[in-house]
Symmetry: C2
Subunit: 266 residues, 2 copies
């Protein structure tokens, strides 16, 4: 999905919402756990209930890899189930040398059919370039993450700049705002504004609203641009909104609530 | 496999050799390509021919992920085929927030049965800690990589120190020399000596000898310590040494050659 199509979907749905399918088997409703392919059944019902309210799904590969090759099979079936009008993100945070990066690009863009994959930029340009060679596909680079450990290195100062600023300045030269996005945690809205100055045109994928404490309004105000420019990810706050037979309905309601909060910023 | 057992294997085999199973379907001998599970057949024959000469195998997950869930199945079967006296590394370069890191640890240590997994430390302490909670298992953190892109960020200077030095100093406090190793590329032996001063006790996993131009003697001189302290990875230079019916024999001969070169440093 290219920039124009993604912006169009945001305008059409009045939504910046990305639903995170970080589905853990121990967190899904008890009555579903007995089912064959319980995680896939759960994901399908969540997708059915939420896809009118969101413009993207972010699927965290770790939760599927923990189930081994069977988990990968569920990952693939989940991707296949998502309507093609919705932007599909493999949240994989890969990063390796050029010839290995080519294999990862093949895995996520060709085999899995993702529109985008999250990547760690610390191994440098040759670790990212192979992902930029697929038309209509995106590399989403770690800019500033939302976790406590982000302070360990990303907030180191280098000649009056944070390391994350240097990383964004340098890596944004490798591609364009039409094939590169950045992960920027919602837990640090003051830094989000700083990042928006460095890359006014790029889309930002923003995790950390909800469970991790990020403030939606602050994120919207600091991050929005003329294309939309934001994908706001909410995972646990939506997919685990209910735990009974009506879990999907509850998830749909939560997704709608978030969408309505976002709508007025358009 | 703990530190004592790994050191023992190095002494017993007089070898620091790690064979990299970065098996790409288009690089295996033509006569094998027609076989069902061609990559697995290839890996098994390579393991049969090389396991007397090496102390570790490093399996690059990207090459298996490119084959989707079937690729993950081959990855698992390859791990299962490796004798238990040999150290098994999942070269996955993962790195994500704490609750996701737990899922990755489950994938690589529990499902796959790896002794160690390579990790990117840039998301900080909470992204690494879950891997350090498994007795006898190891986190192998990216220290300084061997690729051209390593200069983009790893060689940035912060107050007279390289970023990679800061990363190693800080992250080596999260665990110990009994559960943490570092990836240090062979293409930069002068930096390897610098790293050895910061972490005299830790094992270093060293890629980049052979195809990428690293010099084995320089690496051995700068990197060895009293436990052994080195796992020298060679991938393409061994596994693709031959392309005919005798490919495994050729790989075995190459592995033996490298082992003999290493032996005199013990």
């Amino acid at each position: 999905m290219n920039l124009k199509e993604l912006s169009h979907q945001i305008q059409k749905k009045c939504s910046f919402l990305c639903v995170g399918l970080d589905t853990a088997i121990d967190k899904i409703p008890d009555f579903l756990k007995k089912e064959e392919d319980a995680v896939l059944q759960f994901n399908k019902k969540i997708i059915d209930a939420t896809h009118h309210h969101c413009v993207a799904y972010k699927i965290n590969t770790a939760f599927y890899e923990a189930g081994g090759s069977k988990g990968w099979d569920i990952l693939k079936k989940t991707f296949d189930y998502i309507p093609n009008t919705i932007f599909k993100i493999a949240d994989a945070k890969r990063g390796d040398i050029g010839n290995t990066a080519k294999q990862y690009a093949k895995a996520f863009f060709q085999w899995l059919g993702a529109d985008a994959v999250t990547l760690s930029p610390y191994m440098g340009e040759d670790s990212i370039k192979p992902f930029l060679e697929y038309p209509g596909k995106w590399a989403i680079l770690l800019g500033l993450t939302s976790n406590p450990g982000s302070k360990d290195f990303q907030l180191l100062k280098i000649e009056n700049e944070y390391l994350f600023e240097k990383v964004i300045k340098i890596s944004s030269q490798w591609g364009t705002a039409e094939n590169t996005m950045y992960v920027v945690g919602a837990t640090k809205p003051e830094h989000l504004a700083l990042i928006r100055k460095i890359i006014p045109e790029h889309f930002l994928l923003v995790p950390g609203v909800g469970e991790q404490g990020g403030d939606l309004e602050k994120v919207m105000s600091a991050g929005k641009n003329s294309h939309g420019g934001l994908l706001i990810n909410i995972s646990r706050g939506i997919i685990y909104a209910g735990s009974g037979a009506d879990f999907a309905e509850k998830a749909g309601e939560k997704a709608q609530e978030y969408r309505i909060q976002m709508e007025r910023f358009l």
